[in-house]
Structures are given as C-alpha cells and as structure tokens.
C-alpha cells in the first residue's frame, strides 16, 4: 500500500499529550508510523490544525433513524445548513444526498467525513432488527461503525436479574452481542420500556416492573456487573429513567451513586450517562422548569467512576428517536406532533417524534443552556463527550456551531441576550466565562471516546494508531476562537483534508473517495464457561419457542451481513 506524509501539521492529540505542536505525520498501510520513505505522497498542512478523526460516541445513524425517514418525507427537502443538508446532486465520487435530520445513508457518510469524523457509535441496536441495522451500516460509506445493543427491558435480562443468576445473565449478554453483532450494553429507561407494553412507565429506581418483579435499580446493577464480568471494552451506556421530565436530576444522581459500587475489570469508567442534558432538569412542573446542572456537576466533579455525553440542543427542527416508548408518547401529546411507536417483542420498544426547538420557548432555551453548562461546569474534559444525541437534540451537521459556542463566551452571551428573560433566570450559563481550547475540544471529540470504548487504535495519532486524520483550515495561533465565531464554524464545517485508514477521502471540503468502512463487534464468549452457556442457551431456546415470532436461526446476524467486520474478543485474565 501507499505511503503518505503530512508535513507542517499543528497536531492536537490529547491522548499523547500533544497540544498544537508543529510536526509531520507519517502514514503507511493505513497506520501512523515513525517515518516513511522519500517516495511517499506529501500533503502540506501548512501549519493547519490537525487532529485524529473524530468519533461520535452516541448517534442514531442506523436502525430507528429509518422510522424517522419514513415519517418525515419533508425532511428530504430541508436545507438549514447549506453544504451539509438538503438535496445535493451526485458527483463523480458521491451518490445523491438528501435530508437534514434523517439524511440518506450516503449523505451520513459524506457529511460526517466533511466534519472530520471517521467513526460512529450507533446508540441503540434492537436485537430483532439488528440485521437491518447492519445493512444500513454497510451503506454508510467511509466511516467505521459499531452499535450498542439494547438490554434494559429484555425479558431474559429481567428474569435472570430477579432469579439472581448473574452468570447466566452474562452468558445471555455475550450471546446477545453475538446475535446482534453489537459492541456494548445499552440500557434505555430500564424497566420503563417493558411497563410501556401495559401503557405504564416507571418513575423511580425502585418502582417494580409488573410481571417481572424487578426494579430499575436491580436491572442497572445486574447489567453493570455482567458487563464487568464479560470485560467488555465499554461500560454500560445508560439512558436514565425519567428522561425529559422536570425534576429528573434526582433520578440521575441516584443512578450515578448506584454505580459507585461497581468494580471495573478494565481501565475505564463504570458508567456512561447518555445525553445528560435531558436528565438534568430541576423544578416540579414545566412551569417551575429550571437547570439542575449545578447539582449534577457538583457530583460529577467529585466522582471518578463515570463519563457522560452532552446531548446538546440546537435551535431548529430535530427528530427525537429513542427506545424510550413512553417518553415519545408524552412528547407527541405535548407537541401535537406525529408519533410513531414500536414494540420489539421480548426486547424493547421504540418511538419517533419530530420536534422543533425554538429560542422563543423558555423550556427549549433552558435545554440549550444546560448542554453547554454541563460541558463547561465539569472541570475535567476527560469526563465529557461532545454530542447532540443526533438527531434528538439536533442534527450532527450542527456540531461546528456547538463547538464554536463552547469556545466563545462572547457568542454565547449574544445568544443569551436574545432569549426570553424567564429562561435566562432559570439557567446558570450567563455566569460562565470558560472557553474551551482546541486541546479540550479534541478531548471531547476524540480522546475520551478512545478511552471510554477502550479503542486504543483510534482517537489519537500515536505510532500504531489507525491513520484517521482530520486537517482543519485553521492555524491555531492565528485565530481567536473567542471572537472569530464564523471563521471557526466554517473551518469545522468542512475539513481541508480528512484521511480514513490512510486514504484521503475529503479535500478542501469535497469528497474525493468513498472507501467502505468497517464494523466493529465484540465477542465476549471467552468470558463465559461452557456449562453456564449451555444452561442459558436452554432458556433462550425455550423462550424462542414460546414467545418469539421468528426462529433462533433466522434471528442471528450472519457473517454475510458484515462484509467488513472487525471482531474484538474479550477473555478472562
């Protein structure tokens, strides 16, 4: 394979402690190497900001997003972010693109690449629909992908938790990851999804799930311990109970405290909290709605067992999609919006509702502030992952806007001045003058992902790492992010150059190649003993016979669905 050298790059690589230092990057066979021969292709970065390819650790890019596409044909025509949304004609390298919140699969690949992203973590695979999710993965060009498999409302899980059979639970999870070719354990509104099957929900960690006689607290603990027993590369990835409800910060705090007791078996967090913005609300009603960021961040600043992602809200149209069925029902009722609901047999549910975040709405304005507050009030950037929970809080094409907000107190102040007074009284953002620098931004978009998913080959530019590289049209010491908002946003919206596994895929903001991406999955069967596995398989097969609409053989995701697989195995030490 060819060799490549990027000269005069201002490298910002937090994993290796490099902060905007001028250096050359050598690439050979898709990996970063010490040096290359004199015949290597040369790219002159001209002192531009150079980072590892970014990783979106929580996005909805395959699976449920398709339900969003079906529900919103008008999204195809939406074009609020020219160049990264709307209808775009094919080019010699790209296929036709359309949409904004729910773009077509090709547009997902191209647009993320233009932003300098090279890896996506799909936030929720439901096992029964996993085959389709992998088909969608395969049609997203360029990017590497993995998906987190839903376990929080699964009948097998709840049965094993109630019967206190942690070994069988771990065996089931290992089997489930293989069945769905998933990467980790996602928990959405534990217990609530099952209760929704009966038109109910759970409202605290200690509500009992009907028919299963377990509580969200037990489900969370059971899954966390199984996750550690299987030595999975990622911790449990939790969407807490009571998402989007005023006063829900107490449930969030309880969930965080609950996980203090979990002993990790790998060098990473014990808990990842998804889209924390939606879980940091104070007040007892919508009228009293306020930011509870201080309570949440006080705790996080003193804790070292968790990470979270922001779930930043972007003003404008968005599309909420989650496995939290009851939440989407209340969204649809409150907003008089279209509603789609799905029940996935023994496993989970899903809902999709379009939404519009308006700066005139005091609730939306406070939500917008909470995301930024969380990122700015948590002192250690190594606990904060940047996301908008795309497209729940807003489409990923708005990331540059949010990056620029994190880096400019002045710009934030300008927006705050245009918000309703009531909203400004309910947020703490106006008092925060912290501005992130490029290094901290690189932590939130690359570094933390590499650590929290235990993916040592990506998210950094050290020797041996995958050559996923983004060069932005910014010379770090010639820009003041605090005042040059538009310039910064423009540079983050289209890279000078994005390199994926050593191939140049974006040049001057245009796609120039579309190689296929890989799909990572985790095989944890090495951490399950044969006896336990056999016993668990007996239960699983029994449940398939009694309850499932498909046979077990038609359920497993087969090898053909992953033409570009990367299998990660875990084993007992």
């Amino acid at each position: 394979m060819s060799e490549l050298i990027i000269k005069n790059a201002a490298v910002c690589d937090p994993i290796n402690g490099i902060n905007c230092e001028k250096m050359d990057l050598a690439v050979k066979d898709g990996k970063i190497v010490e040096n290359v021969s004199s015949g290597a292709d040369v790219i002159d970065a001209g002192g531009r900001l150079t980072m590892a390819g970014a990783i979106d650790g929580h996005t909805h890019c395959a699976g449920k997003i398709n339900l969003g596409r079906l529900m919103s044909p008008h999204d195809m025509r939406m074009n609020p972010v020219p160049g990264l949304s709307g209808l775009q004609e094919p080019t010699p390298y790209t296929r036709a693109q359309s949409g904004y919140n729910t773009p077509n699969t090709f547009a997902l690949g191209y647009r993320y690449s233009k932003l300098g992203y090279t890896t996506l973590s799909e936030a929720a695979i439901s096992m029964l629909s996993a085959r389709h999710t992998h088909e969608e993965f395969e049609s997203i060009p360029i990017l590497d992908k993995w998906g987190l498999t839903l376990f929080g409302n699964n009948w097998h899980v709840m049965n094993y938790v109630r019967d206190e059979q942690p070994e069988k639970l771990a065996a089931y999870i290992a089997w489930g990851l293989k069945a769905s070719r998933g990467f980790g354990v996602k928990v959405v509104n534990p217990g609530g999804g099952e209760a929704w099957g009966w038109g109910k929900n759970v409202t605290s960690l200690d509500d009992v799930v009907a028919d299963f006689d377990v509580t969200p607290r037990q489900i969370l603990m059971g899954l966390a311990e199984a996750n550690e027993a299987l030595r999975l590369p990622h911790s449990i990835h939790v969407h807490c109970n009571n998402l989007g409800k005023p006063g829900n910060y107490e449930t969030t705090l309880e969930t965080m405290k609950l996980m203090e007791g979990v002993k990790t078996t790998r060098d990473r967090q014990a808990l990842h909290l998804a889209h924390l913005q939606f879980h940091s609300y104070g007040g007892n009603s919508w009228r009293e709605f306020e930011s509870a960021t201080p309570q949440i961040t006080d705790y996080i600043n003193g804790a070292d067992h968790l990470t979270f992602d922001m779930g930043q809200v972007i003003f404008g149209p968005a599309m909420t999609m989650t496995a939290d069925g009851p939440l989407e029902y209340s969204n649809a009722r409150m907003l008089h919006a279209k509603w789609s609901n799905k029940d996935v047999e023994l496993e989970d549910g899903a809902g999709v509702v379009p939404i519009e975040y308006s700066p005139k709405s005091f609730v939306n304005a406070v939500q917008w502030a909470i995301g930024l507050e969380l990122a700015l009030m948590v002192e250690d950037p190594w606990k904060v992952m940047f996301t908008t929970d795309s497209p729940n809080g807003g489409s990923f094409v708005n990331y540059p806007e949010a990056f620029a907000l994190l880096m400019s107190a002045k710009k934030r102040q300008q927006i705050i001045e245009s918000l309703p007074n009531l909203a400004v009284d309910r947020m703490v953002l106006p008092g925060i003058d912290r501005e992130l620098d490029f290094y901290e931004l690189a932590v939130m978009t690359r570094g933390i992902q590499s650590k929290m998913f235990s993916m040592n080959n990506i998210g950094h530019l050290g020797v041996g790492a995958d050559a996923d590289i983004a060069v932005y049209d910014i010379i770090p010491d010639q820009i003041d992010p605090g005042t040059e908002h538009e310039k910064l946003k423009k540079a983050f919206s289209a890279t000078s150059c994005t390199i994926k596994s050593g191939n140049v895929v974006v040049r001057d903001g245009e796609i120039v190649a579309t190689p296929a991406g890989r799909t990572y999955w985790v095989n944890a069967s090495g951490c399950v003993s044969n006896d336990v596995n056999e016993a668990a398989m007996k239960d699983i097969k029994n449940n398939f016979r009694r309850y499932y609409t498909v046979g077990i053989a038609n359920y497993m995701v087969e090898d053909e669905y992953l033409p570009h697989p990367v299998e990660i195995t875990t084993e007992v030490n």
Binding site: M71, P73, H74, H336
Partner: protein
C-alpha cells in the same frame, strides 16, 4: 413590457421538468437567451428552444413579463414554480406542480391542470379554466404547512384532498370537489360551489363553505346557528372538536 410566446413543437411522451419557465427567469432575456434555458427531459438535459418555438418581444423586469404558452403541456411539470411576479397564460392542459411555491404574479390555465396545482404557494393568483386533479393548494408529503397565501380559482371540478394542510389564502372551486377537502385546515378559506364529501377533518382555524351538497358530514363538528355568506344563509358548524379546532364549516 416583455411578452414571450412559447409554442410546443411536438407533444412529448417523456415528462419534462420546466421549473425554469417563470417570469423571474425570463426577465430581460432575449429570444436567443430564452432558447438556451435548460429543461430536464426525463433524465437528460435539453434546451427550451428544442421543445418550444420561442417568440419574444421587448425586455423588462419580472413584474412586466407575460409568458403565453400554447400546446398540450400535459407532460410538462412545474411551470411557474417559485415565480414571484409577472404573468403566465397556458392555452392547453398542464402537468403536475404548476405554480407550486409561487409567491406572486398570476397564472391562468385555459385547460385542465393535473395534481398539486399551487402547492405551498405563498402569494399570487392561479386560475384554472378547466378541471384540476388531486391536492390543489396542499402541502407536500410530511409537510404541516400547505398553501399559506394567495388565491386559486378552479372553474371546474377538483379531485380529492383539496387544500390539505392549508394555513392561509383562498381557494374557490366552482364545480365539485372529491374526498376530504380542507383536511387539517389551519387558517385558509375554501369555497366549493358544487358537491363534496367528508369536508374539513382536523380543521383548527379558517373557513370552508360548501354551496352544493355535502354528501357525508364527519361527526366532529358542533352546530352553531346560522351564518350569511354572499347573501345566502348557511348552517354554521364549529370544529374540529377532536383537535379543539375553532374553524367554521358552512353547509347548506
């Protein structure tokens, strides 16, 4: 004043997308320039001069441009899309999306129109001296806002879903309308001269008048006395009560 006369050379079987035919695009252009305007014929690009004989006279700004099109345009779509001023007169039938998203000016169709006439239009006027098909003045798929301003007059019959998701403006149909006219009306006015059925479901605001026979009345309205409209007395209904609507439905 600038007048442009387009005469169809030969009737096309493969559909043409002609969103470039509008006074805004023609303003100030010579005959030769107009002939060079691109059109889509199926999946290939052609020029206006290949399809039409072009005769142009004068040169002026969009509001003083009058385009007259002769021939059977029943496979030519999107004429007058997004136009903001001026006038188009079509002597013949026309295909889908005529005058969609227009913001001003006037289109007269002396023939029949197809589906989606004046969809999502914001201003201006469309007169169809013939029949129109489905979704006159509606919103496109998934959209919650259809026609929001302007006026559409159909001197003939229309088919189903007249003015779906309308939120402003006025539609007058002198003939009959098909199923479910005025669905999800949110502020528009619709007057139907002839018969129709199942009118005004999910209406929140606005007014729908049915001068002919309403064959089937949706059971979602509260009767509210009578009201005069153009010198005639109608039974007045308010609803749709299911969506807490305050729209007015006038029925004979």
């Amino acid at each position: 004043m600038q007048t442009v006369t387009l005469t169809l050379r030969e009737k096309n079987r493969i559909p043409i997308e002609a969103d470039t035919i509008s006074p805004d695009n023609f303003a100030g252009l010579s005959e030769r320039d107009i002939e060079q305007i691109p059109l889509c014929l199926g999946n290939t690009q052609v020029f206006l001069g290949d399809i039409f004989e072009v005769v142009a006279d004068g040169s002026d700004s969009a509001e003083n441009v009058r385009i007259e099109i002769n021939g059977d345009l029943s496979r030519i779509k999107r004429i007058g899309q997004r136009m903001s001023a001026g006038e188009i007169v079509i002597n013949g039938n026309v295909d889908m999306h005529c005058g969609c998203s227009m913001t001003g000016g006037k289109i007269t169709i002396n023939g029949h129109a197809d589906n989606w006439v004046g969809c999502e239009m914001k201003g201006g006027e469309i007169t169809v001296n013939g029949n129109a098909k489905y979704y006159v003045g509606s919103g496109y798929r998934g959209e919650s806002n259809g026609m929001s301003g302007g006026r559409i007059v159909v001197n003939g019959d229309v088919l189903d879903y007249l003015g779906e998701h309308m939120c402003g403006g006025e539609i007058v149909v002198t003939g009959n309308a098909g199923l479910l006219p005025g669905l999800s009306n949110n502020g528009g006015t619709i007057v139907i001269g002839g018969n129709t059925t199942m009118a005004a479901g999910e209406m929140k605001k606005g007014m729908i008048v049915i001068k002919g026979n309403l064959e089937e009345m949706l059971p979602i309205y509260r009767e509210d006395g009578t009201e005069e409209f153009e010198g005639q007395t109608y039974r007045k209904f308010t609803g749709d009560v299911n969506v807490k609507g305050k729209g007015t439905l006038l029925v004979k």
